[in-house]
Symmetry: C2
Subunit: 229 residues, 2 copies
DNA sequence: CGCCACATTGAACTACGTCAACCAGGGTGG
DNA sequence: CCACCCTGGTTGACGTAGTTCAATGTGGCG
Protein backbone atom coordinates (compact mmCIF):
# COMPACT_ATOMS: atom_id res chain seq x y z
CA UNK A 1 0.00 0.00 0.00
CA UNK A 2 1.32 3.43 -0.84
CA UNK A 3 2.21 6.01 1.76
CA UNK A 4 0.05 9.02 2.54
CA UNK A 5 0.81 12.31 0.81
CA UNK A 6 1.05 15.44 2.94
CA UNK A 7 -2.38 16.46 1.74
CA UNK A 8 -3.86 13.15 2.82
CA UNK A 9 -2.24 13.58 6.21
CA UNK A 10 -3.82 17.00 6.60
CA UNK A 11 -7.12 15.53 5.47
CA UNK A 12 -6.80 12.94 8.24
CA UNK A 13 -5.96 15.65 10.78
CA UNK A 14 -8.95 17.73 9.80
CA UNK A 15 -11.28 14.80 10.39
CA UNK A 16 -9.85 13.85 13.78
CA UNK A 17 -11.56 15.16 16.86
CA UNK A 18 -8.22 16.21 18.20
CA UNK A 19 -6.85 18.42 15.43
CA UNK A 20 -9.87 19.59 13.54
CA UNK A 21 -9.80 23.15 14.92
CA UNK A 22 -6.08 23.72 14.37
CA UNK A 23 -5.11 26.15 11.58
CA UNK A 24 -4.11 24.43 8.35
CA UNK A 25 -0.72 26.10 8.37
CA UNK A 26 0.09 24.45 11.68
CA UNK A 27 -1.21 21.12 10.44
CA UNK A 28 1.05 21.33 7.41
CA UNK A 29 4.05 21.78 9.68
CA UNK A 30 2.84 18.88 11.78
CA UNK A 31 2.46 16.64 8.74
CA UNK A 32 6.05 17.47 7.89
CA UNK A 33 7.44 15.84 11.03
CA UNK A 34 5.43 12.62 10.83
CA UNK A 35 6.75 9.31 9.58
CA UNK A 36 4.33 6.65 8.46
CA UNK A 37 4.82 3.17 9.87
CA UNK A 38 3.06 -0.17 9.45
CA UNK A 39 2.52 -2.76 12.12
CA UNK A 40 1.29 -6.29 11.57
CA UNK A 41 -1.49 -7.45 13.84
CA UNK A 42 0.00 -8.51 17.15
CA UNK A 43 3.06 -6.28 16.97
CA UNK A 44 4.00 -4.64 20.24
CA UNK A 45 4.48 -0.92 19.77
CA UNK A 46 5.08 0.07 23.36
CA UNK A 47 6.12 -2.18 26.19
CA UNK A 48 5.85 -1.92 29.95
CA UNK A 49 8.98 -0.54 31.55
CA UNK A 50 10.51 0.58 28.28
CA UNK A 51 11.09 4.18 27.35
CA UNK A 52 9.09 5.34 24.34
CA UNK A 53 8.41 8.99 23.73
CA UNK A 54 6.98 8.70 20.23
CA UNK A 55 3.57 10.11 19.54
CA UNK A 56 1.33 7.91 17.40
CA UNK A 57 -1.60 8.96 15.24
CA UNK A 58 -3.53 6.02 13.86
CA UNK A 59 -4.20 6.15 10.12
CA UNK A 60 -5.72 2.72 9.63
CA UNK A 61 -6.38 -0.31 11.81
CA UNK A 62 -6.58 -0.34 15.57
CA UNK A 63 -4.23 0.02 18.51
CA UNK A 64 -4.95 -1.68 21.81
CA UNK A 65 -3.62 0.20 24.82
CA UNK A 66 -3.41 -1.92 27.92
CA UNK A 67 -1.63 -2.30 31.21
CA UNK A 68 -0.45 -5.45 32.87
CA UNK A 69 -0.14 -6.00 36.59
CA UNK A 70 2.67 -7.95 38.19
CA UNK A 71 0.22 -10.80 38.69
CA UNK A 72 -0.24 -11.03 34.94
CA UNK A 73 -3.74 -9.65 34.85
CA UNK A 74 -4.22 -7.37 31.87
CA UNK A 75 -6.65 -4.54 31.45
CA UNK A 76 -7.39 -2.84 28.17
CA UNK A 77 -7.75 0.90 28.57
CA UNK A 78 -8.37 2.12 25.14
CA UNK A 79 -8.81 1.09 21.54
CA UNK A 80 -7.33 3.77 19.34
CA UNK A 81 -8.81 4.05 15.88
CA UNK A 82 -8.24 6.23 12.81
CA UNK A 83 -7.60 9.86 13.67
CA UNK A 84 -6.97 9.16 17.34
CA UNK A 85 -3.66 9.34 19.17
CA UNK A 86 -1.60 7.28 21.55
CA UNK A 87 1.23 8.34 23.85
CA UNK A 88 0.74 12.03 23.23
CA UNK A 89 1.97 13.08 26.66
CA UNK A 90 5.01 10.82 26.61
CA UNK A 91 7.40 13.47 25.22
CA UNK A 92 7.06 15.17 28.60
CA UNK A 93 7.87 12.16 30.72
CA UNK A 94 11.40 11.10 31.47
CA UNK A 95 11.19 7.56 32.64
CA UNK A 96 9.80 4.34 31.20
CA UNK A 97 6.07 4.05 30.63
CA UNK A 98 3.80 1.41 32.09
CA UNK A 99 1.20 1.35 29.33
CA UNK A 100 1.57 -1.16 26.55
CA UNK A 101 0.30 -0.82 23.02
CA UNK A 102 -0.25 -3.52 20.49
CA UNK A 103 -1.51 -3.56 16.91
CA UNK A 104 -4.92 -5.10 17.39
CA UNK A 105 -5.41 -5.31 13.64
CA UNK A 106 -2.96 -4.60 10.83
CA UNK A 107 -2.32 -0.97 11.56
CA UNK A 108 -0.53 2.02 10.13
CA UNK A 109 0.35 5.10 12.14
CA UNK A 110 1.90 8.50 11.71
CA UNK A 111 4.74 8.61 14.19
CA UNK A 112 6.31 11.74 15.63
CA UNK A 113 9.46 11.49 17.70
CA UNK A 114 9.33 13.04 21.15
CA UNK A 115 12.12 15.43 20.22
CA UNK A 116 10.26 16.65 17.14
CA UNK A 117 7.00 16.96 19.00
CA UNK A 118 8.56 19.07 21.72
CA UNK A 119 10.20 21.32 19.17
CA UNK A 120 6.94 21.57 17.27
CA UNK A 121 5.18 22.71 20.41
CA UNK A 122 7.86 25.27 21.18
CA UNK A 123 7.58 26.76 17.73
CA UNK A 124 3.77 26.72 17.66
CA UNK A 125 2.73 28.21 21.00
CA UNK A 126 -0.94 28.38 20.03
CA UNK A 127 -0.90 24.63 19.57
CA UNK A 128 -0.19 24.07 23.28
CA UNK A 129 -3.58 25.47 24.12
CA UNK A 130 -5.23 23.10 21.65
CA UNK A 131 -3.38 20.25 23.27
CA UNK A 132 -4.60 21.29 26.73
CA UNK A 133 -8.17 21.41 25.57
CA UNK A 134 -7.75 17.93 24.19
CA UNK A 135 -5.94 16.34 27.09
CA UNK A 136 -7.94 17.72 29.97
CA UNK A 137 -11.25 16.03 29.17
CA UNK A 138 -9.42 12.89 28.09
CA UNK A 139 -7.89 12.61 31.54
CA UNK A 140 -11.24 13.18 33.14
CA UNK A 141 -13.02 10.51 31.17
CA UNK A 142 -10.19 8.06 31.66
CA UNK A 143 -10.44 8.57 35.38
CA UNK A 144 -14.15 8.13 35.54
CA UNK A 145 -13.78 4.97 33.49
CA UNK A 146 -11.30 3.51 35.87
CA UNK A 147 -13.51 4.65 38.68
CA UNK A 148 -16.32 2.63 37.17
CA UNK A 149 -14.02 -0.33 36.96
CA UNK A 150 -13.46 -0.14 40.69
CA UNK A 151 -16.97 0.59 41.80
CA UNK A 152 -19.33 -1.24 39.51
CA UNK A 153 -20.05 -4.96 39.37
CA UNK A 154 -19.13 -7.22 36.51
CA UNK A 155 -22.52 -7.19 34.79
CA UNK A 156 -22.57 -3.44 34.65
CA UNK A 157 -19.04 -3.28 33.35
CA UNK A 158 -19.67 -5.78 30.58
CA UNK A 159 -22.82 -3.96 29.51
CA UNK A 160 -21.01 -0.66 29.60
CA UNK A 161 -18.25 -2.19 27.49
CA UNK A 162 -20.72 -3.39 24.87
CA UNK A 163 -22.32 0.02 24.78
CA UNK A 164 -19.05 1.87 24.42
CA UNK A 165 -17.73 -0.47 21.78
CA UNK A 166 -20.89 -0.32 19.70
CA UNK A 167 -20.85 3.47 19.91
CA UNK A 168 -17.32 3.44 18.58
CA UNK A 169 -17.43 0.59 16.08
CA UNK A 170 -21.09 0.02 15.31
CA UNK A 171 -22.81 -3.34 15.31
CA UNK A 172 -22.00 -6.18 14.84
CA UNK A 173 -18.92 -6.14 17.03
CA UNK A 174 -16.06 -8.47 16.22
CA UNK A 175 -14.64 -9.27 19.60
CA UNK A 176 -14.14 -12.49 21.54
CA UNK A 177 -15.35 -12.88 25.10
CA UNK A 178 -11.75 -12.90 26.26
CA UNK A 179 -11.20 -9.52 24.62
CA UNK A 180 -14.36 -8.11 26.17
CA UNK A 181 -13.21 -9.42 29.52
CA UNK A 182 -9.96 -7.52 29.24
CA UNK A 183 -11.78 -4.31 28.48
CA UNK A 184 -14.36 -4.81 31.21
CA UNK A 185 -11.62 -5.73 33.64
CA UNK A 186 -12.79 -9.20 34.55
CA UNK A 187 -12.35 -12.85 33.57
CA UNK A 188 -13.52 -14.60 30.43
CA UNK A 189 -15.86 -16.84 32.41
CA UNK A 190 -17.61 -13.98 34.16
CA UNK A 191 -18.03 -12.21 30.85
CA UNK A 192 -19.52 -15.29 29.26
CA UNK A 193 -22.01 -15.64 32.10
CA UNK A 194 -23.12 -12.06 31.66
CA UNK A 195 -23.36 -12.52 27.92
CA UNK A 196 -25.50 -15.61 28.50
CA UNK A 197 -28.04 -13.68 30.56
CA UNK A 198 -28.04 -10.86 28.01
CA UNK A 199 -28.75 -13.43 25.32
CA UNK A 200 -31.61 -14.86 27.37
CA UNK A 201 -33.02 -11.34 27.75
CA UNK A 202 -32.83 -11.01 23.96
CA UNK A 203 -30.51 -8.03 24.22
CA UNK A 204 -27.76 -9.53 22.10
CA UNK A 205 -27.12 -12.30 19.60
CA UNK A 206 -23.74 -13.96 19.46
CA UNK A 207 -21.73 -16.07 17.11
CA UNK A 208 -18.15 -17.06 17.61
CA UNK A 209 -16.19 -13.81 17.71
CA UNK A 210 -19.19 -11.74 16.69
CA UNK A 211 -21.77 -9.88 18.72
CA UNK A 212 -24.90 -8.24 17.40
CA UNK A 213 -26.66 -5.87 19.73
CA UNK A 214 -30.41 -6.25 19.29
CA UNK A 215 -31.53 -3.89 22.01
CA UNK A 216 -29.06 -1.13 22.88
CA UNK A 217 -31.63 0.63 25.03
CA UNK A 218 -31.70 -2.33 27.38
CA UNK A 219 -27.98 -1.83 27.96
CA UNK A 220 -28.54 1.86 28.68
CA UNK A 221 -31.48 1.10 30.91
CA UNK A 222 -29.54 -1.44 32.89
CA UNK A 223 -26.85 1.13 33.33
CA UNK A 224 -29.28 3.65 34.70
CA UNK A 225 -30.82 0.99 36.90
CA UNK A 226 -27.52 0.51 38.61
CA UNK A 227 -26.96 4.24 38.76
CA UNK A 228 -30.11 4.81 40.72
CA UNK A 229 -29.38 2.28 43.44
CA UNK B 1 -4.10 36.16 59.73
CA UNK B 2 -2.76 38.61 57.22
CA UNK B 3 -2.72 37.98 53.50
CA UNK B 4 0.40 37.02 51.59
CA UNK B 5 2.39 39.76 49.87
CA UNK B 6 3.39 39.24 46.24
CA UNK B 7 6.90 38.43 47.37
CA UNK B 8 5.63 35.77 49.72
CA UNK B 9 3.58 34.29 46.91
CA UNK B 10 6.65 34.11 44.69
CA UNK B 11 8.55 32.57 47.57
CA UNK B 12 5.86 29.90 47.80
CA UNK B 13 6.01 29.28 44.05
CA UNK B 14 9.77 28.90 44.10
CA UNK B 15 9.51 26.20 46.75
CA UNK B 16 6.80 24.21 45.03
CA UNK B 17 7.81 21.28 42.87
CA UNK B 18 5.57 22.56 40.17
CA UNK B 19 6.78 26.12 39.65
CA UNK B 20 10.32 26.11 40.92
CA UNK B 21 11.92 26.19 37.43
CA UNK B 22 9.72 28.95 36.05
CA UNK B 23 11.40 32.36 35.50
CA UNK B 24 10.71 34.85 38.30
CA UNK B 25 9.22 37.34 35.86
CA UNK B 26 6.57 34.82 34.89
CA UNK B 27 5.94 33.99 38.54
CA UNK B 28 5.43 37.66 39.31
CA UNK B 29 2.76 37.86 36.64
CA UNK B 30 1.20 34.68 38.01
CA UNK B 31 1.15 36.07 41.54
CA UNK B 32 -0.69 39.06 40.15
CA UNK B 33 -3.73 37.06 39.09
CA UNK B 34 -4.12 35.05 42.29
CA UNK B 35 -6.63 35.79 45.00
CA UNK B 36 -6.09 34.42 48.45
CA UNK B 37 -9.00 32.59 50.05
CA UNK B 38 -9.58 30.87 53.38
CA UNK B 39 -11.63 27.77 53.97
CA UNK B 40 -12.66 26.40 57.31
CA UNK B 41 -12.09 22.72 57.87
CA UNK B 42 -14.89 20.80 56.23
CA UNK B 43 -15.74 23.41 53.61
CA UNK B 44 -16.54 21.97 50.20
CA UNK B 45 -14.50 23.74 47.54
CA UNK B 46 -15.55 21.68 44.55
CA UNK B 47 -18.60 19.51 44.26
CA UNK B 48 -19.50 16.58 42.04
CA UNK B 49 -21.50 17.65 39.00
CA UNK B 50 -20.83 21.32 39.48
CA UNK B 51 -18.79 23.45 37.16
CA UNK B 52 -15.65 24.88 38.70
CA UNK B 53 -12.74 26.04 36.58
CA UNK B 54 -10.72 27.73 39.28
CA UNK B 55 -7.15 26.67 39.83
CA UNK B 56 -6.12 26.30 43.46
CA UNK B 57 -2.65 26.51 44.93
CA UNK B 58 -2.53 25.53 48.58
CA UNK B 59 -0.74 27.98 50.86
CA UNK B 60 -1.51 26.43 54.22
CA UNK B 61 -3.56 23.50 55.45
CA UNK B 62 -4.70 20.55 53.39
CA UNK B 63 -7.17 19.84 50.62
CA UNK B 64 -8.76 16.43 50.25
CA UNK B 65 -9.61 15.52 46.67
CA UNK B 66 -12.07 12.67 46.41
CA UNK B 67 -14.71 11.13 44.21
CA UNK B 68 -18.00 9.68 45.25
CA UNK B 69 -19.86 6.90 43.48
CA UNK B 70 -23.61 6.81 43.13
CA UNK B 71 -23.67 4.13 45.81
CA UNK B 72 -22.15 6.62 48.23
CA UNK B 73 -18.76 5.01 48.45
CA UNK B 74 -16.07 7.65 48.55
CA UNK B 75 -12.45 7.34 47.49
CA UNK B 76 -9.79 9.88 48.34
CA UNK B 77 -7.44 10.45 45.46
CA UNK B 78 -5.11 13.03 46.72
CA UNK B 79 -4.20 15.17 49.69
CA UNK B 80 -2.93 18.50 48.45
CA UNK B 81 -0.55 20.33 50.74
CA UNK B 82 1.36 23.62 50.67
CA UNK B 83 2.79 24.42 47.26
CA UNK B 84 0.70 21.83 45.46
CA UNK B 85 -2.22 22.46 43.13
CA UNK B 86 -5.75 21.27 42.57
CA UNK B 87 -7.95 21.53 39.48
CA UNK B 88 -5.18 22.81 37.29
CA UNK B 89 -6.60 21.27 34.12
CA UNK B 90 -10.15 22.42 34.78
CA UNK B 91 -9.85 25.66 32.77
CA UNK B 92 -9.72 23.43 29.70
CA UNK B 93 -12.81 21.42 30.46
CA UNK B 94 -16.26 22.63 29.58
CA UNK B 95 -18.63 20.53 31.62
CA UNK B 96 -19.07 19.83 35.30
CA UNK B 97 -16.34 17.94 37.13
CA UNK B 98 -16.74 14.73 39.06
CA UNK B 99 -13.94 15.28 41.55
CA UNK B 100 -14.79 16.85 44.87
CA UNK B 101 -12.48 18.86 47.08
CA UNK B 102 -12.84 19.64 50.73
CA UNK B 103 -10.76 21.58 53.22
CA UNK B 104 -9.35 18.74 55.30
CA UNK B 105 -7.89 21.21 57.76
CA UNK B 106 -8.32 24.97 57.99
CA UNK B 107 -6.85 25.89 54.66
CA UNK B 108 -5.87 28.90 52.63
CA UNK B 109 -5.35 28.84 48.88
CA UNK B 110 -4.29 31.09 46.07
CA UNK B 111 -7.14 30.93 43.59
CA UNK B 112 -6.88 31.71 39.89
CA UNK B 113 -10.02 31.94 37.81
CA UNK B 114 -10.14 29.74 34.72
CA UNK B 115 -10.43 32.80 32.53
CA UNK B 116 -7.33 34.38 34.02
CA UNK B 117 -5.39 31.15 33.88
CA UNK B 118 -6.17 30.67 30.20
CA UNK B 119 -5.16 34.24 29.43
CA UNK B 120 -2.01 33.81 31.46
CA UNK B 121 -1.09 30.76 29.42
CA UNK B 122 -1.76 32.53 26.15
CA UNK B 123 0.48 35.41 27.11
CA UNK B 124 3.25 33.20 28.50
CA UNK B 125 3.79 30.51 25.86
CA UNK B 126 6.88 29.14 27.56
CA UNK B 127 4.77 28.38 30.58
CA UNK B 128 2.68 25.87 28.61
CA UNK B 129 5.69 23.64 28.25
CA UNK B 130 6.32 23.80 31.99
CA UNK B 131 2.72 22.81 32.54
CA UNK B 132 3.06 19.82 30.19
CA UNK B 133 6.14 18.60 31.98
CA UNK B 134 4.25 18.84 35.22
CA UNK B 135 1.02 17.25 34.15
CA UNK B 136 2.32 14.33 32.14
CA UNK B 137 4.03 12.48 35.00
CA UNK B 138 1.19 13.42 37.34
CA UNK B 139 -1.27 11.64 35.09
CA UNK B 140 0.97 8.64 34.90
CA UNK B 141 1.40 8.29 38.62
CA UNK B 142 -2.28 8.85 39.24
CA UNK B 143 -3.08 6.06 36.84
CA UNK B 144 -0.69 3.62 38.35
CA UNK B 145 -2.09 4.48 41.76
CA UNK B 146 -5.61 3.73 40.69
CA UNK B 147 -4.33 0.65 38.98
CA UNK B 148 -2.93 -0.49 42.30
CA UNK B 149 -6.27 0.16 43.88
CA UNK B 150 -7.87 -2.24 41.46
CA UNK B 151 -5.28 -4.97 41.48
CA UNK B 152 -3.88 -5.19 44.96
CA UNK B 153 -5.55 -6.63 48.03
CA UNK B 154 -6.65 -4.61 51.02
CA UNK B 155 -3.63 -5.31 53.19
CA UNK B 156 -1.26 -4.13 50.53
CA UNK B 157 -3.29 -1.02 49.88
CA UNK B 158 -3.44 -0.04 53.52
CA UNK B 159 0.28 -0.55 53.92
CA UNK B 160 0.96 1.42 50.79
CA UNK B 161 -1.27 4.17 52.13
CA UNK B 162 0.64 4.34 55.39
CA UNK B 163 3.91 4.47 53.51
CA UNK B 164 2.78 7.21 51.17
CA UNK B 165 1.28 9.30 53.93
CA UNK B 166 4.33 9.05 56.13
CA UNK B 167 6.54 10.03 53.20
CA UNK B 168 4.39 13.09 52.72
CA UNK B 169 3.57 14.08 56.29
CA UNK B 170 6.13 12.33 58.45
CA UNK B 171 5.34 10.33 61.57
CA UNK B 172 3.17 10.33 63.62
CA UNK B 173 0.25 10.49 61.25
CA UNK B 174 -2.95 12.10 62.37
CA UNK B 175 -5.60 10.14 60.54
CA UNK B 176 -8.55 8.04 61.64
CA UNK B 177 -9.11 4.54 60.33
CA UNK B 178 -12.08 5.79 58.37
CA UNK B 179 -9.88 8.34 56.62
CA UNK B 180 -7.25 5.72 55.85
CA UNK B 181 -9.99 3.49 54.48
CA UNK B 182 -11.10 6.17 52.08
CA UNK B 183 -7.58 6.62 50.79
CA UNK B 184 -6.91 2.90 50.54
CA UNK B 185 -10.25 2.40 48.84
CA UNK B 186 -11.82 0.01 51.31
CA UNK B 187 -14.04 -0.05 54.39
CA UNK B 188 -13.23 1.12 57.89
CA UNK B 189 -13.55 -2.40 59.24
CA UNK B 190 -11.13 -3.93 56.77
CA UNK B 191 -8.66 -1.17 57.50
CA UNK B 192 -8.93 -1.76 61.22
CA UNK B 193 -8.29 -5.46 60.76
CA UNK B 194 -5.14 -4.74 58.79
CA UNK B 195 -4.02 -2.20 61.36
CA UNK B 196 -4.55 -4.79 64.07
CA UNK B 197 -2.21 -7.27 62.40
CA UNK B 198 0.35 -4.52 61.77
CA UNK B 199 0.17 -3.66 65.44
CA UNK B 200 0.72 -7.29 66.38
CA UNK B 201 3.74 -7.40 64.07
CA UNK B 202 5.04 -4.33 65.92
CA UNK B 203 5.11 -2.29 62.72
CA UNK B 204 2.91 0.48 64.04
CA UNK B 205 1.57 1.94 67.27
CA UNK B 206 -1.84 3.54 67.35
CA UNK B 207 -3.79 5.88 69.52
CA UNK B 208 -7.15 7.33 68.68
CA UNK B 209 -6.62 9.34 65.49
CA UNK B 210 -2.85 8.97 65.64
CA UNK B 211 -0.52 6.45 64.06
CA UNK B 212 3.17 6.08 64.73
CA UNK B 213 5.12 3.98 62.31
CA UNK B 214 7.75 2.01 64.19
CA UNK B 215 9.09 -0.02 61.30
CA UNK B 216 8.71 1.60 57.88
CA UNK B 217 10.94 -1.02 56.28
CA UNK B 218 8.42 -3.70 57.13
CA UNK B 219 5.84 -1.79 55.10
CA UNK B 220 8.24 -1.55 52.16
CA UNK B 221 9.17 -5.19 52.45
CA UNK B 222 5.58 -6.28 52.51
CA UNK B 223 5.04 -4.22 49.40
CA UNK B 224 7.84 -5.95 47.58
CA UNK B 225 6.60 -9.31 48.80
CA UNK B 226 3.32 -8.74 47.08
CA UNK B 227 5.03 -7.39 43.99
CA UNK B 228 6.92 -10.60 43.46
CA UNK B 229 3.91 -12.88 43.57
C1' DC C 1 -23.24 12.84 82.94
C1' DG C 2 -24.27 11.65 78.66
C1' DC C 3 -23.40 11.99 74.01
C1' DC C 4 -20.58 11.34 69.95
C1' DA C 5 -16.91 10.09 67.25
C1' DC C 6 -13.79 6.51 66.85
C1' DA C 7 -12.18 1.74 67.61
C1' DT C 8 -12.90 -3.25 67.69
C1' DT C 9 -14.55 -7.91 66.95
C1' DG C 10 -17.43 -11.63 65.40
C1' DA C 11 -20.46 -13.64 62.15
C1' DA C 12 -22.97 -13.94 57.90
C1' DC C 13 -23.13 -13.15 53.20
C1' DT C 14 -21.83 -12.58 48.39
C1' DA C 15 -19.77 -11.42 44.13
C1' DC C 16 -16.07 -13.10 41.62
C1' DG C 17 -12.22 -15.51 40.54
C1' DT C 18 -10.43 -20.13 39.91
C1' DC C 19 -10.33 -24.75 38.33
C1' DA C 20 -11.79 -28.38 35.69
C1' DA C 21 -14.27 -30.56 32.32
C1' DC C 22 -16.41 -30.58 27.98
C1' DC C 23 -18.22 -29.17 23.42
C1' DA C 24 -18.13 -27.11 18.64
C1' DG C 25 -16.20 -25.37 14.50
C1' DG C 26 -12.71 -25.04 11.24
C1' DG C 27 -8.32 -25.33 9.57
C1' DT C 28 -4.22 -28.48 8.58
C1' DG C 29 -1.66 -32.37 7.40
C1' DG C 30 -1.31 -37.17 6.45
C1' DC D 1 -11.53 -38.09 3.94
C1' DC D 2 -10.43 -38.63 8.48
C1' DA D 3 -7.70 -37.50 12.62
C1' DC D 4 -5.82 -33.92 14.94
C1' DC D 5 -5.50 -29.79 17.32
C1' DC D 6 -6.34 -25.17 18.45
C1' DT D 7 -9.18 -21.42 19.54
C1' DG D 8 -13.26 -19.98 21.52
C1' DG D 9 -17.43 -20.96 24.09
C1' DT D 10 -20.02 -22.93 28.09
C1' DT D 11 -21.22 -24.70 32.53
C1' DG D 12 -20.78 -26.36 37.24
C1' DA D 13 -18.56 -26.55 41.59
C1' DC D 14 -15.77 -24.45 44.93
C1' DG D 15 -13.02 -21.19 47.54
C1' DT D 16 -12.32 -16.78 49.45
C1' DA D 17 -11.32 -11.91 50.03
C1' DG D 18 -13.67 -8.41 51.53
C1' DT D 19 -18.07 -6.04 52.40
C1' DT D 20 -21.88 -5.67 55.45
C1' DC D 21 -24.31 -5.77 59.71
C1' DA D 22 -24.59 -5.73 64.41
C1' DA D 23 -22.98 -5.37 68.98
C1' DT D 24 -19.96 -3.46 72.18
C1' DG D 25 -16.14 -0.83 74.08
C1' DT D 26 -13.82 3.70 75.08
C1' DG D 27 -11.95 8.20 75.44
C1' DG D 28 -13.05 13.02 75.35
C1' DC D 29 -15.81 17.05 75.42
C1' DG D 30 -19.76 20.13 76.29
Amino acid sequence: MKKLSDNEKIELFLHSGFLKDVPVGTLTDLAGITKEKRYQQGTLIARNGIFNDNVYIVVKGLLKVSACSETGKRITFLLVKRGETFNIMSPFIDGPRFLEAEAFRDTSCLVISGQNFREFLSSHPDFSLHLMYWIAPAIDSAFSRIFDLMEKNVEFRVMRTLLTLSAKFGSPLYFTNAELAEIAGTTTESTIRTMATLRKLDVIETERGKIRIKNPDALEEAGKEYMRL
